[in-house]
Symmetry: C2
Subunit: 662 residues, 2 copies
């Protein structure tokens, strides 16, 4: 087996205009962080205890078992190795790759809910057990018939003052909890979201700690029906579960009461603000933006490396087959998503840092910033996960036939990452939440209020475009202006559309529904403007080395120009840009792609994903694709024998019968 | 279990403006065909021999075995039942659904290649064996390192005049045959495409009949290495295979010599035309257009029915949760793909009928029509499979969380149908083939030649648009004009771009590459114009009942208007349409969707897919989604026991160790 690097890839790396390490440092926040990341990743990847078996060759049940085992081992090792909480994700992602983790909901939702919504006493009771994995929990909110719309939940928690208990029930089939990760087979506890009823009155959904399985033998407790919801597109390793409860009684103290409370006599105490839960949502959405960036980084790493190894067709008679990345159509498929990967990587960082800054204000009781953050994060979550969805598939298709093989890693990546468009709020609903805030802000500005933050630009809307100007379409300032103008105009148009529907006699909900396509369009434009502006602003960092500043500027220009030409109608419709601007933009894109071509491999190398995380034969760092494709295929379970058992069972009698009939 | 129809779905059907049966007859070519289709489908679906097990609960190996068994049984039954060849596909598709068939390549490629490329003697030798399944074959063309570019194939067939044999070799790793369906485990023969060498001279790729496995014990023959290429995104049931040959000798008579010939003394006789193979390609591409139509029909059937059963959120305070199809954003996701399903269904029919008409001319030696047909079919194959790819996923995402479950049928549909964008010519390469023909035609027209057929409109290009006109954007004539103008302009622009690149000093191949993004755009516009025009023309059929003509006209308008607003920049760039036209178009789309809303279920019912073919709990005809979701989940292998074995193996020791440490 070859141990040298494929010569085509070696040449690519030699010809790059910059040192990838510099961008790696920029992306991860400095050389110390990169060092830490590499240390922890190699600790995980070189640990023989993990085996790192190929999930592609396993049944779903085997995948679940294998990953559960791995996840428990990882949990134990993280404690043994005393890995710092801040660095933990470096270790975790090296163990699991971009695959989900059977204990993921325990770590990502169960524990945080206890931190955020349990009282001090409740924390004392459960946190130690949960942090030390004596109990394993999940977060059971979604129901078979109810998703994004929380108020529609049907599960009930009825207070019984006589016994000081809540009685939990699943009153209908559609009320069954459905989807929570780890619920089916793994968890023995959950935080259950249920409609609180006190003396016949409903108080809306609240969180309750519920034990669902025995700590002795793991059997479901009386009144509890629980199981796996069956195989899915991806998430094979996760036991997403269902749960039905029949008169299950829990003590009053099991309602998580940090915000709302139920007193022993049944008195209900409201939370100080209904917006408090927004903080966590902003955080979770920022992680989805990060996931989208990761999905695109991994997908473009695989596709761009493979496109330098793969040779195809004949560009010039008699010449050797060119690397497929030399085809401009291939560049046009991949480079815009490479640019988007960088754009969302930086967007996610900004969101996290805004969230951190505002968190301290929120913890001091100042929640004024929350509505804006909430609206912004909804749109960015939706935009980034939509783009990632399309981009991952574009990368897969750009790898031709081999992209379709699980050897490429791309089908599994897609199947595991595409739920980001659905969970934590379905994307269209998210965009409409952003739009609601935009409409509110727009109306405030019409009434003379001065807007701040990410919507400040709506104050200064000038719907009439400056005509006849000649623009330099490579200028990032001009590009940001164009995206800002488009967003402002589309917000204005959506508002006009809403007004027209109202004037035509529709009530507010019907008008909103009728205008919703325009509203989504406006929210999308607003989110895209934020991403472009954020990318451009990050390039003004004076610490940036000039070699990487040059290449990152090209990526930013490409990101903006590609967004512009693929939505050219939005810029042309009111004459803000002219046909000649758009033609200029297209020519610039071609020129930028030609300039980026020699740096493409270095730009994906800079993401610094080890092979163990990429899990892709096409995307291997050493480019030795073909040898490993064959080795991998030979390990396929169907190849255990030269003649498969199905021959003896079915094919042989069939062939013999046919021969006899001749 | 409920046996009645969900009341929401029942109401939808009662309120439709037309009788779905009328459209079913229109789609399938008359009531007799529909009758035949239903007869054969119910014969297959009600035959207990097939079991119809759920593949979602099986490992890949089990899936392969199950489907092989089913496929052999189907083959036997088709003969027993004496099903007419014309009707066979009705029976087949009811047995396999939209899933591929392990003997698919034998039926779809091996036999047709023998029909089309074997001499009379060769037919006498092999056809009987192949038609009666004494031998099972596949078509081995694609290699590990070589796909769409046929001339790049590396496998060699060297003529040895001494022994009157060809010596077959796989000279390099990348020359291994890779991907052919049924090659890995099932087939004992194949048609092998290999570079023909005679006395050191290469004559390009030719087809050879090669036995690869023993007819006695199915073992690979000496010199043959063959196996499965491993798991893929979809096609789990197919043993796509690899094949390497080492000095395998076959008699001279095993080269398929209907077109090219090698005489005993090594004299090579060229085929009469290099374009003869085009005929089959046109046919195969038309079937991919049909597959794309089927993919979209199935996906929209599932998503639209489910969107009437599913209720979500609160549109008006205090009102019940509305059906999700009442959300305009949901309509905007699904209705354009419903329209596209119809558009491609009719496109595929037209292509097949054009192919049939031209076939008789071609068989008489008149191949003048082939280049145009070839170019047109390449673009339509690419356009339809791209739209189907995006549309299937849009439908899945529109079903929210449950769309992600294999219970929806949508992930499996997507994974099995998405290869249409890659096989039989990668889509971008296909579009560039269309573009090549468009450029040639455009240049001919510049030189005063009159163009005919699908490119006739290029003769009359008027790049200067008629300004200031007021258009009725609902008028199908005006819409066809707009698409024609856009196509003509983009062909013109691509030609200008090519010329500019040449004038700037690039040679022809480099100029072609530099202009390729514009060339693809032009080919796409040309293909879209054909689809819109074809849809509009089919509506002029005087036999159409007025009730269905009305609703089909709305679909056609929606298809055209949606294509127009999503590509609005193309129409605005040269001022052919104005911003106010585009706004008018958007308002028309909203109005059309509102009119189509009550007919949506009837429009998918008209596709007439029985539940056994849909294979979707969300898309069930009776709409009893939730009960069946639960039943299905309970059958998941992970639910064999309440407490999964992994608890005893891994979870219990983990939990106990943690408890002990407290």
């Amino acid at each position: 087996m070859a141990t040298t690097v494929n010569p085509d890839l070696r040449k690519e790396r030699e010809n790059a205009s910059f040192v990838p390490e510099k961008i790696t440092n920029f992306l991860y926040g400095g050389p110390e962080r990169v060092q830490k990341k590499r240390e922890l990743a190699s600790l995980a990847l070189n640990d023989p205890d993990y085996h790192h078996e190929d999930l592609n060759f396993m049944s779903r049940e085997q995948q679940y078992e294998t990953c559960l085992k791995k996840s428990l081992l990882m949990t134990t090792k993280i404690k043994q190795l005393k890995i710092d909480a801040v660095d933990e994700h470096f270790y975790r992602s090296a163990v699991t790759g971009p695959s989900p983790d059977p204990l993921g909901l325990h770590v990502g939702m169960f524990l945080p809910t206890l931190y955020g919504q349990a009282t001090q006493e409740q924390k004392e009771k459960w946190l130690n057990l949960a942090e030390n994995y004596v109990i394993i929990g999940t977060y059971a909110q979604t129901e078979m018939g109810h998703g994004t719309f929380l108020r529609g939940l049907e599960t009930t928690a009825t207070f019984d003052p006589k016994t000081q208990e809540f009685i939990l029930n699943t009153p209908t089939l559609t009320a069954s909890k459905w989807w929570p990760g780890g619920l089916g087979k793994t968890s023995n506890y959950c935080v259950l979201m249920a409609q609180l009823y006190i003396q016949g009155k409903s108080y809306g959904p609240h969180p309750f700690m519920v034990q669902i399985r025995s700590l002795q033998d793991h059997k479901p407790l009386p009144g509890v029906t629980v199981g796996d919801i069956g195989p899915k597109f991806g998430y094979d390793v996760i036991d997403n579960g269902f749960l039905a409860l029949r008169n299950v009684r829990i003590p009053r103290e099991n309602m998580l009461m940090k915000h709302s409370k139920v007193a022993p006599d049944g008195t209900y105490v409201k939370p100080p603000s209904s917006k408090l839960a927004y903080g966590t949502m902003v955080f979770v959405r920022a992680t989805i933006v990060n996931d989208s960036a990761m999905a695109l980084s991994i997908a473009t790493t695989i596709a761009i490396r493979y496109s330098c190894v793969r040779r195809q067709s004949e560009m010039k008679p008699g010449h050797p087959e060119p690397q497929v990345l030399d085809y401009v159509t291939q560049q046009y498929k991949l480079f815009p998503y490479l640019a988007a990967a960088y754009a969302f990587w930086l967007t996610g960082q900004t969101m996290m840092s805004v969230y951190m800054t505002s968190s301290s204000r929120i913890s001091k009781g100042d929640i004024s910033v929350l509505p804006e953050l909430h609206a912004l994060s909804a749109g960015l979550k939706a935009l980034s996960s939509w783009v990632a969805n399309v981009g991952m598939e574009e990368c897969r298709l750009a790898c031709g036939g081999h992209g379709y093989s699980h050897a490429s890693g791309l089908p599994r990546l897609y199947a595991n990452l595409t739920p980001g468009a659905t969970y934590e709020g379905e994307n269209t609903v998210m965009m409409l939440q952003t739009a609601r805030y935009l409409m509110k802000s727009y109306n405030q500005s019409l009434q003379g209020e001065k807007l701040a933050g990410s919507v400040a630009y709506l104050s200064g809307v000038q719907p009439v475009p400056a005509a006849g100007r000649t623009r330099n379409m490579l200028d990032l300032g001009a590009l940001c202006d164009a995206f800002r103008h488009r967003a402002a105009r589309l917000v204005h148009e959506a508002a006009m559309q809403l007004r027209n529907e109202r004037q035509a006699g529709k009530d507010q909900p019907d008008a909103w529904n009728a205008a919703s396509v325009d509203l989504v369009k406006a929210a999308m434009a607003h989110s895209q403007y934020f991403v472009v502006k954020n990318f451009a602003e990050r390039l003004t960092d004076s610490r940036l080395d000039s070699s990487i500043s040059a290449v990152l500027t090209r990526l930013c220009q490409l990101h903006a120009l590609h967004g512009l030409v693929t939505n050219s109608g939005d810029f042309l419709e009111d004459g803000y840009l002219t046909g000649s601007d758009i033609r200029q933009a297209r020519r610039h894109i071609n020129a930028l792609m030609a300039k980026l071509r020699p740096d493409a491999v270095a730009l994906v190398d800079a993401f610094d994903f080890p092979d163990g995380i990429l899990n892709s034969i096409l995307g291997r760092y050493d480019g030795n694709v073909y040898q490993h494709l064959l080795e991998w295929a030979k390990a396929s379970p169907l190849n255990k024998n030269d003649v498969h058992q199905s021959y003896h069972k079915y094919l042989k009698p069939f062939l013999e019968a046919n021969r006899a009939k001749l």
